[in-house]
Structures are given as C-alpha cells and as structure tokens.
C-alpha cells in the first residue's frame, strides 16, 4: 500500500499545471504557439484554443509534420509548444526530433502527454515507456520529467525562456505534490527530498511519491534511505548521483518506463566513476500487458513494496 492510499493526499493531473502555465506565458508573450495532432482535448488545450485561436495550430493526425511545423515556427521567431501523446510524438517523429529539433538546435518545446503507462488499458501501442531510453540517447536535447504540478509549471516556464530544444513529459496519472511551494526547477539539478545514508532511491516523474513512501517504510525498519528526485534525465545531475554512489551503499532507480531510462543513465554514470550496486525499478524489457495504470505499476513492482524490496535486495 503506498502513502497515496494511506495518507489520501490530493492527486493532481499535471496537464492542468501545464496548460495554466502555458496560458499565463501566452498572455504576455505572443511568440508562444501550440501545435497539436488532433490532441487539443488530450492535451487539455481547450482553454488555450479558446483564448488564442490563431495561436493553436492543429495539423491533424500527422506527427512528422507536427514537429516539422514546430521547427518552422521556431525559425520564424515563435516559441512552439508541440503537444501530443508521448507515444506518438516520440516514436512517430523520431527523425524529426533528432534532426529538426536536436541537431538543428531549434527553439522548440516538445510536450509528451500521458506518458508511461497512463493509457494502461489501451495497450503497448499507447504506452510510452521507451521514450526515456530513446530520448536520452539524442544529443543536444534537454529531457525534463516533472514529478508534480509545481515542477511541471516551472519546467514549462523554463522551457519557454530557454533557447534550444526541450522535451517535457507531462503526466496524466494523478500524482501528489512532492515539491515544496518554494521549489525552483533547475535543469541538471536533482532534488534531495529526504536525506539518508544507507541507500539512495533515485526517482523520476510520476513515481517520486512512491520512492518517498518507500523511504518512510524503510525508516520504520531502521534503514535510512536518501530520496533523490531527478527532474532532468538529460542532463543528469552527475554530482548528486555520484555523491549518492559514494555516500550510500547503492542506488535504486525508480521510473514509470523501461529501465533503459533513468536506470540506464545512472548505471552508465556510476560504472565510469564509482561502480556501486544499482537496482532498477521499472519495466524490464517487455511490452506491458493490458490493465489500468495503477494495476500495471503494482504488477511491475513500481510501488512502495517493490521499491522497498529492491532496496532490501541491494542491501542484502
């Protein structure tokens, strides 16, 4: 049972924060344009479309064109937010992300909606669990995976001001607040949400709260777990991860993704500088079955219990 159930915290759909932040930016910056693939509703962009009908470009169901149009808008001095289901945005427009966004260093913000297994019942074609492994391999792209509405809004604001291509993974699955109200997002900076020195739980995005719950549970067993929230998988906070590698007995990575995402990024870092035991909590090299996202997260052990047992295994 995760704290989500025991504490009954309010759960937030991060898309609300995304749209609120975008609307606010767009009020004072007329360079902001939204580009979608028949995804106005699933991106919650209805209010944006109402307020700025000309500044919402719906290219229809055409993801390659969508990203190309975004790059062209950037060429024309706009700040495009290209918003589509993460699964289609990444897989269908991969070469456009590589070439039109990353290699070209166009000032474009790619917004991957409902990532991970949010579309659980719809099946693997709609899951976006490959995205982190795929995108962190692309040079020159900043990849932000916010964990709650505060971080989502800040990432959106930061991306609008930043010059260069950014991907932001926006959760639809309800998440509790994990950051403090005075939190300030900095790309490449992990956040220590809880101190500890036996083991480190490094978590990303939707499942940071589960790492916090696991740390609580480990504490009850006398195990001191550090919890690192990692908002950008690229660039990775190498300092914080390596400090964790040195100062604790190992790292458990936690993600709503295939373990080639954060797991892979952490593994690649530590083996080069400070080899230490790592355990991966995530989906391991398989397409997920059908089921609700909550069911799937439990099924794959991306849960308080799963994280605890990964930590215990590491410390065993």
């Amino acid at each position: 049972m995760s704290t989500i159930e025991t504490d009954i915290p309010v759960l937030h759909d991060c898309r609300d924060a995304w749209v609120e932040a975008l609307l606010e930016l767009a009020e004072t910056d007329d360079r902001i344009v939204a580009v979608v693939n028949d995804s106005v509703g699933s991106s919650k962009l209805g209010p944006f479309q109402k307020r700025f009908p000309d500044r919402l470009i719906n290219v229809g169901i055409a993801e390659q064109n969508m990203v190309g149009v975004g790059a062209g808008l950037a060429n024309g001095g706009k700040v495009p937010f290209v918003s589509a289901a993460a699964c289609f945005l990444t897989a269908r427009a991969m070469e456009q992300i590589k070439v039109d966004a990353a290699y070209s260093q166009h000032n474009i913000v790619l917004v991957g909606q409902s990532p991970g297994m949010a579309y659980g019942e719809l099946g693997p074609t709609h899951h976006s669990i490959e995205d982190l492994g795929w995108l962190r391999t692309i040079p020159g792209l900043t990849v932000v995976v916010p964990s709650d509405p505060i971080e989502t809004a800040q990432a959106v604001r930061w991306a609008a001001a930043h010059d260069g291509p950014v991907f932001i993974r926006v959760s639809r699955m309800g998440v509790p607040m994990v950051n403090h109200a005075d939190y300030g997002f900095v790309p490449g900076k992990a956040v220590t949400l809880r101190d500890g020195n036996d083991v480190t739980l490094a978590a990303i995005g939707t499942v940071v709260s589960r790492a916090l719950a696991a740390a609580e549970s480990l504490a009850a067993d006398g195990i001191s777990a550090r919890v690192l929230s990692v908002p950008t998988i690229k660039p990775l906070d190498e300092v914080a991860i390596l400090a964790a590698a040195r100062e604790t007995r190992g790292i458990v990575t936690v993600e709503e993704a295939l373990t080639t995402g954060l797991g892979g990024a952490v593994a690649e870092l530590v083996v080069q500088h400070h080899p230490v035991a790592v355990r991966f909590v995530g989906v391991r090299d398989q397409f997920a079955p059908t089921g609700s996202v909550e069911w799937l997260l439990d099924h794959f052990g991306i849960s308080e219990e799963g994280i605890v047992s990964a930590a215990l295994d590491l410390l065993a």
Partner: protein
C-alpha cells in the same frame, strides 16, 4: 472549436450487462439478397448492443467510431470475405485489417459474432492481463492480422500482404478500414501511392467517412476534400456509398477486384455513433463512456425492429 472530452476511466464493474449475445455466424449460402441484408442487419444490431455493454463495463472505448464501422465489419466477416474460423491457416483466404484500431471493441464483437472468438472472452475487454486490449493485438488474437492502434499503420501492412498474395498467384483479397481523420497520416499516402502504381487490384481500402475525428470535424482540423480526387490521383478506382447500407457494401465488396485493374477505394459515408439519437454525429462520443441511463436509452433504440 473542439468539444472533445477526455478519456474517463469510470469503470463500474457492477454494470457489466449480461446482454445475451447470440452468435449468428455467416450468412448461409444460397439465400436471397433480402435475406442477406436481414441477417447482416440483425447481426449489426446485436453487435452494437454488445459493444455498448463492453464499453460501459470497461469504462473506456471509442463508441462513436465503433458504431460507424460496425456495418462494414459485419458485412465483411459474415458475408463478403472468404475467411472462416476453422481455416485461418488457409493461405488463399481473404485478409482484413482494422487500421483504425481504436474501434477494437467493434472488431472483437464482430469476431465473436462470426465465430472467431468465444463470446465469453468479450467480458475480459481491457481487464488486467486480457488478450482483448484497447487496440487489437496480433499476438493475442488468432484472427487479427496486424496490431494496430497508432493510426496510419494498417494500410502499409495491407499493401504488404497484398503483394504477398500476388507473389503467390493467389486470388485472395485484402480489406483494410481506415478512419477519415486517419488519412491525415502521411504513411497512408505512401502506401496508397505504392498500391496505385503497382496496380494492387486485390486490395480494397475502405474509408470510414464519418467526418469527425477525435477532437473536431475533419473539415475543421485538416480537411480531406476533394477526397475522391485525391484517391483517384493516387491510382485508385473510387466508389462512394452509404456505409450503413449492408446491401451496397456487399455489392461493392463483390466487385473487388475492379475491372480497371486498379486497387479499390470505397468512401463509406457513415455517421459517428450511428444510429443512437444522442450520439450520432457528436464528436464528444469519440471516446465518451455512456452513463447507465444512456446505456439504457441506447439499448432501447437498439431493440429488434
């Protein structure tokens, strides 16, 4: 302006309707044209009843696009296609691909109606570990040729299997249903160009022309018109028909391959949500889940005539 609502996973398992599902099976050989149409109409009615119950039970589904395509599916599986449950291994049988995979529930119920799937399995729709995903999966259901869901995949695959048939000198045909919004995907135009140039006459592309996509009308998003001109310029023999008219559908399918030697494109004019009064032509029903009252109302509109 969009009226799209969001997916609402509002599952009410107690609401799993025990809607009796009789497997009518194929239209028997040698019956009159009128009997063909009556059989198909009854099958479509039962399929729609089962479909709405499945969507309600799962709390998810794409009922609008399911109801627009059901008459096409039923006509193909129960009558026009040379394909039977006992002979899936037969190389010369026809092929069908539902490229607009979000209408999976319509496909599953039709497959059950035609004997390709045990009807009991329908109640597993979208349940944990179910074989009946929200989108059809080739590895999970024997009669499914291709896993679809992301739009714009089915037509290229249909072109490939049609090529395979040609290489084998087979007379089998491949039918593929695409959504009209789906035709915004460039991969389809790649495939259409290939099929047209190679004169893949054993291929029949059916456009479910319900004029709505997920969030708005196709014409308010990225219009397709003049669609017939586009398809003709890509090398297809084009037919327009009412996609809810079983007789017209059956005749069009009978006429594949076209005498011109071109592949066939059927623009099937349909109504999203057909024939439910409060769903028809309303984009909100792309993936809205009916309330218990709405289910009751829809079922009453789907009583035997």
């Amino acid at each position: 302006m969009t009226t799209e609502e969001d997916l609402v996973p509002d599952v009410d398992s107690s609401m799993v309707l025990s809607d009796a599902f009789s497997v009518l099976g194929r239209v028997p050989d040698g019956v009159t044209e009128g009997e063909v149409v009556a059989h198909l109409a009854e099958a479509a009615r039962l399929v729609r009843r089962r479909d709405i119950a499945m969507v309600r039970a799962a709390g998810l589904g794409h009922i609008g696009g399911e109801f627009s395509v059901i008459d096409i599916l039923v006509t193909l599986y129960l009558h026009s296609m040379n394909m039977s449950p006992d002979h899936l291994g037969e190389p010369d049988r026809d092929r069908f691909i539902l490229s607009k995979g979000h209408a999976a529930a319509a496909l599953y119920t039709t497959l059950a109606m035609a004997g390709f799937l045990p009807p009991e399995q329908l109640s597993t729709f979208m349940k944990p570990l179910a074989q009946l995903n929200g989108h059809p999966a080739r590895t999970k259901i024997a009669a499914v040729e291709a896993s679809t869901g992301p739009l714009g995949h089915g037509l290229p695959i249909a072109v490939g299997t049609t090529f395979a048939g040609r290489l084998d000198g087979s007379s089998r045909r491949t039918f593929v249903v695409v959504g009209d919004g789906e035709l915004q995907e460039g991969s389809n135009w790649e495939a259409l160009m290939t099929a047209g140039n190679h004169r893949l006459s054993q291929l029949c592309v059916i456009v479910d022309r319900n004029r709505l996509q997920q969030g708005a009308a196709v014409s308010d998003t990225n219009d397709l018109e003049p669609l017939a001109d586009k398809l003709r310029a890509f090398g297809f023999a084009v037919i327009d028909l009412n996609g809810h008219d079983h007789g017209a559908l059956a005749e069009a399918f009978r006429n594949v391959p076209a005498p011109s030697g071109q592949p066939t494109a059927i623009i099937a004019h349909t109504v999203k949500g057909h024939p439910i009064s409060f769903m028809a032509n309303d984009v909100a029903w792309h993936h809205k889940v009916p309330s218990p009252d709405q289910v009751a109302q829809a079922l009453s509109e789907l009583e035997a005539p």
